[in-house]
Symmetry: C2
Amino acid sequence: MVQLQQNAVRNRLIKAMSPDDFDRLQPHLYLTDLPLQQMLIAPNQRVEHLYFLESGVSSITAQGSDGRVEVGIAGREGLVGAVPLLLGSDRVPHDHFMQLAGEGWRIGAEALLAATDASATLRRLLLRYIQTELVQVRQTAFVNASFNIEARLARWLLMCHDRVDGDDLLLKHEFLSMMLGVQRSGVTLALQNLEGAGRIKARRGRITVIDRERLETLADGSYGAPEAEYARLIEGALCRATTSTCGTSRARAGWPRIWRATNSPTSALRARRRCDRRAT
Amino acid sequence: MVQLQQNAVRNRLIKAMSPDDFDRLQPHLYLTDLPLQQMLIAPNQRVEHLYFLESGVSSITAQGSDGRVEVGIAGREGLVGAVPLLLGSDRVPHDHFMQLAGEGWRIGAEALLAATDASATLRRLLLRYIQTELVQVRQTAFVNASFNIEARLARWLLMCHDRVDGDDLLLKHEFLSMMLGVQRSGVTLALQNLEGAGRIKARRGRITVIDRERLETLADGSYGAPEAEYARLIEGALCRATTSTCGTSRARAGWPRIWRATNSPTSALRARRRCDRRAT
DNA sequence: TTCGTTTTGTATGGTATCGAACATAACGGA
DNA sequence: TCCGTTATGTTCGATACCATACAAAACGAA
């Protein structure tokens, strides 16, 4: 393996950690291909490896009698397996698998545990990441109870868009329906609405985000708060001390400025093409 | 304040901690009355105090444009405020308030932080509790997407029942509808179904659980998994080491044996009165 | 190209839930 | 006791979504 440069990494947790912490982890990181449907963590089984995702998207799903439903999502902002490792268990009851193929830095559970035991700052960073996971899933619980398919779909596309390069999402309606816990045909209709309004373009197996800003408008409050919390907790540069008072009201103040900056600089421009409003 | 005995406490986290850890905390615990609607943690504000609940139930809610929805619940099995304290932030974007009046041991954030810094076992216990919170809210996200009002109501009543003495829940339909994110009249109808089937008895402002076991049958998979995870992570007596292999398949094996044992010994008996099955 | 497969589009009746209104019943203070 | 207030019961049209089926289109391999 070649010597790894921290600033060449795209994972945002790795980017956010101190150089010392990076040096601690670096010898244990192995870049791994993560093909579609790859199971990263199997339910109720001991977690042996964790993954700092570089690209692609992973889902956490709950399995019910009538199929699975997504209860969490992770991409290059995350570390798959952080919860069982850092919260002192060695397993979780949900499965984590790749829903968009990509790559990730794999690390052994023992190596990461040793690193977090040795470095308080690293431990603190990863614990903060777990807090963002918690905020995200609380939002999902809220959204699932309160929003219609169209808004939930818009939110989901935005979250996915945040985690990929470019504006194309390689997704099938069938898959989306599972993630949202709704009918497949309902997804088709909702996508048609979004497409008719010029927010996306849908082809077979591919959804292209055309007008991200208006997509956010349509999601109407279902998207944004957890993303702001990530910016505050992980990338709020001044947040070091546990009881720091930084970012007092930033989470309320609005969205992170550049949540998607590294992903697709073009979309930020494109998003401004038109900006009319439409009632939900 | 009188000297406190660990075995006289009813909070299950305190019960589960080692005597040493209890001694560490004991000087800082103040029994506090927690009346209905008392705000324990305000959203996006620094957490000054945490609460080991002794009785009563607290809700975590998300505020949307059309009202609040519950995205978490805590009772005597929990510590309100654990997330911001132990995950290294000092605030959360959701509010925590009492939905059933009770009491709790209040402790200052600094005192608890000092204790967790000093004791690895205490820190591990509380981090594991956070994992149970995470599992619980993932389940809520799943349930909100997949189950009808009746099943969700049944689950909610069971979770509430787990956390109170006796079988009476002092709740209004209006309140329940907010928690579940549904119409008030929908709650009334669902309660009537449950009552007609003999599972509960509903009077003005009071719901009595009559047949808990059949209530679980009706909840049909929406209830149980997080409760089993609590039993495994917190009360699985052998789980001490971080990478322990205890409880390998217990979470799948079924419900905790005595989740409600200390609360209402009578209900376990009563639950067995009848046991027919009915399709959902 | 052709054909089989996969994915998406479309239609339809049924159901759960909404949204709102109003009626009834329980409670509590004067 | 009465009466105002609060909580619950009930109704009903509207609607979002389900469940299912089938048609059309896109794709890919022979």
